[in-house]
């Protein structure tokens, strides 16, 4: 079957009433949490994971995917209107988007961001449809040494994204790998690091760790510093951009889409990296770099297209290799495993309706987002005035219900609390939780592949360098490490994250 035949079949799956309904719920929820600052897509997906137990796999994944790219849309709305990034990837949109709003051009900024994102979403959907099958075919030939090196590459990629120091991020990855080993060792059946606690014999649940590290820690950190929010009260009129706006925006949209589609595939990539990269590219190629930060429409169009494209193409490594490239994808893998589907290249051949249905639903979801968001902007802005003191007990209730329902055991809630405290300490010590979560997911997989590779090579560690694909991954990891450590890049990276915090 060719790509279009497959896509057609996917659309057949995606437009069934049930799947349309869940795609709608997903993008609606995604937009909602994208708008609300202090509630990220990771925490939301973690909270909703247990609910998907009772759903068939296709609508479950469609809904979770909708939350992820929906949150990119919602985040940009608040960046433009109130200078608050509802979501990390829309931080750069604040720079020019909010300035445009202050000049009374909030309408065009919102429209360009929505249309640019829609365009990027369409292209990224095609990219996934075209790129995923050949990649999955290659992945089917991967042996344990290739998988091991790929995971090393993925984990190193995750450290690039961490905003703190590189060495702390790597330490967090190692810590995550170690925590992932808790439980029964598959090879020998030995209970490792369980301390005679029967609940630990199956290991610590991934959802529990994610909710503690992202959910609880975030709530406590938000409660500690109280900040007043300035809400943009001006009315959004004149939604449509002028001809001049279109003329200036189309090239950045194209560039942003291309950049985002590429960066999204990289491990550790996704929406966040893409939007930052797109902004600096636009600033570089612009004839009027001095306008940036003062309401240049290019500074909205580029990053907004890029983050949406990146959010979508980051599904490629998850769908074809079974390797998560960011915490959201790690949660998706969790959702797949809960449904009894082993993520990896075989998903495409064994569950084509899931694979192609998900891809087609992304396009459908993007269409819904445009239709949903442009008329509802006023409502989203009103949501911002909901005080955090109503929000956080509600989030806590959903988290507690979600965690408790995993196995009806209070022990899971206790573990969540412990990781909440640990996550809080990590925030204070400037250790990023995201690399740890990826390590946690990959820990058992890595050990398994390392063991197999060493068994096959009879204990010769050189096997990782002799196989070409494996060697390429290791070389790429080394390359990444060197680049980040280089002083010039380090300065830029620090500057980018300073901008993010400001």
């Amino acid at each position: 079957m060719d790509v279009f035949g497959n896509l057609w079949m996917g659309f057949g799956v995606a437009v069934s009433w049930l799947n349309l309904l869940y795609a709608f719920i997903g993008v609606l929820l995604g937009t909602l949490i994208g708008v609300l600052p202090g509630v990220g897509p990771v925490a939301t997906i973690a909270v909703l994971l247990p609910i998907t137990f009772n759903l068939p796999p296709v609508p479950a994944l469609i809904m979770l995917a909708g939350i992820y790219y929906g949150s990119q849309y919602g985040g940009s709305t608040t960046s433009i209107l109130v200078n608050i990034p509802g979501e990390a990837a829309s931080v750069v949109t604040c720079l020019d988007g909010y300035q445009m709003a202050r000049q009374g051009r909030a309408g065009p900024a919102l429209a360009v961001s929505a249309l640019g994102s829609f365009f990027a979403g369409c292209v990224a959907t095609l990219v996934i449809a075209v790129a995923a099958p050949p990649l999955a075919e290659v992945a089917l030939k991967f042996g344990p040494s290739e998988y091991f090196s790929l995971m090393v590459f993925g984990l190193i990629g995750a450290t690039v994204l961490a905003s703190g120091s590189l060495i702390k991020a790597i330490a967090m990855v190692l810590l995550g790998l170690l925590l992932g080993l808790i439980g029964t060792d598959v090879n020998s059946g030995v209970l490792r690091f369980t301390f005679d606690i029967p609940e630990l014999s199956d290991g610590i649940g991934f959802v529990v760790v994610a909710m503690g590290m992202f959910g609880i820690a975030e709530i406590v950190a938000n409660l500690e510093h109280k900040g007043a929010r300035e809400v943009f009260t001006g009315k959004v009129t004149n939604l449509f951009p002028t001809k001049e706006d279109f003329k200036r925006a189309w090239a950045p949209v194209l560039r942003g889409t291309a950049l985002g589609s590429c960066l999204g595939i990289l491990p550790g990539g996704g929406a966040l990296l893409s939007s930052f990269a797109a902004y600096s590219v636009e600033k570089k190629v612009s004839k009027h770099p001095e306008q940036f930060g003062k309401g240049a429409i290019e500074g909205v169009a580029g990053p907004e297209s890029a983050n949406n494209a990146g959010a979508q193409t980051s599904f490629i490594p998850m769908l074809t290799l079974g390797i998560p490239s960011n915490p959201v994808m790690a949660l998706m893998i969790g959702a797949l495993m809960i449904q009894g589907i082993a993520p990896g290249p075989q998903v495409m051949t064994e569950k084509p309706e899931l694979f192609w249905g998900l891809i087609a639903s992304m396009w459908v979801g993007n269409l819904m987002l445009v239709v949903l968001n442009l008329p509802l902007i006023g409502m989203w802005v009103k949501l911002l005035s909901v005080p955090y003191r109503y929000l956080y007990p509600s989030i806590l209730v959903f988290m507690a219900i979600g965690v408790f329902s995993l196995s009806n055991n209070p022990f899971d809630v206790l573990i969540m609390a412990i990781f909440g405290v640990f996550g809080y300490i990590c925030v204070k010590l400037e250790c990023e939780p995201a690399p740890m979560i990826l390590g946690f997911i990959l820990g058992p997989l890595m050990e398994e592949n390392l063991r197999r590779a060493m068994l096959l090579s009879r204990g010769d560690p050189l096997v990782f360098f002799q196989k070409p694909i494996s060697a390429a991954f290791l070389a790429a990891s080394l390359f990444l490490l060197v680049i980040i450590a280089l002083p010039a890049i380090r300065k830029k990276r620090e500057a980018a994250f300073v901008e993010q915090q400001a």
């Binding site: 247990p50 609910i51 009772n54 120091s165 060495i167 702390k168 790597i170 330490a171 190692l174 810590l175 790998l177 170690l178 080993l181 060792d185 090879n187 020998s188 030995v190 490792r192 690091f193 609880i216 406590v220 950190a221 409660l223 500690e224 510093h225 109280k226 955090y388 003191r389 109503y390 956080y392 007990p393 509600s394 806590l396 209730v397 988290m399 507690a400 219900i401 965690v403 408790f404 329902s405 009806n408 209070p410 022990f411 809630v413 206790l414 969540m416 609390a417 909440g420 809080y424 300490i425 204070k428 010590l429 400037e430 250790c431 050990e447 063991r451 068994l455 009879r458 204990g459 560690p461």
Partner: protein, 263 residues
Amino acid sequence: MEIRNSKDFWAGLMFVVVGLFFMLWAVAQYQMGTAVRMGPAYFPAVLGGMLASLGAVIFLRAFFSRLTDSAAGRIPFSAKDLAIGVASLALAAWASRSFSGSAESGILAAAFILSVLANRYRLKGASASLRLSFNAADFVIGVVIFYVAAQLSFRYARNSDYGMLAAAALLSVLAVLFRPGARPLVLVVASGIAYGYLMKPLGLILATAVLVFISAFGGHEFKWKEVTILYVVLIVFSILVFVKALSLPFPICPDFMDSCPIR
């Protein structure tokens, strides 16, 4: 010697301790195996060693960093304190292991010594958002309270649930009275723990009440009327969505009630 970056100091220390723990525990308890046939200890031992070495680098960096993180300035540090801490930990573990066969009580004792020392090097930050709301001694005391309460209740009631609840309650009261800065952290976490352990005996309605009211009390503003309305909305939503629509097997009413009016 001066600590120039107290975040690196504590993060490094944390990684060293955790890494060493995983490494030593794996080597002592499980089969190492060979590179060809790796035993259960192999991978964790290697990872733990790597983590401990990275932690050591981060720890040392705290003394030579060009970036000073705290407005509070540099913190004087005597290596003697660290040596005393490490030595007391090792000594206590060894002594209690050789006398009672279990390292736990000795490690608890050493934890107290360490916590007293830790008090001198508390994390200081330029802004409130970077400052830790409790110090290392508080942390150790909190962990010990939980541990002792769980052990006691297991010994006398064959169930550690009561101990967990009691410890969460005790810590909440202590935090509200003595550590107002740690109130958000302690109350949010304690309310979650209470929810988990109260769900089976008290049912969804009462457990959610405990969760909502205690966690709301951890915030800056607490108004009975607002929180009550929020609670009613949340409990109705939970029952309709989670119990009715998604049919999660939660008890709605307390265990001691014979018949539940809501079904």
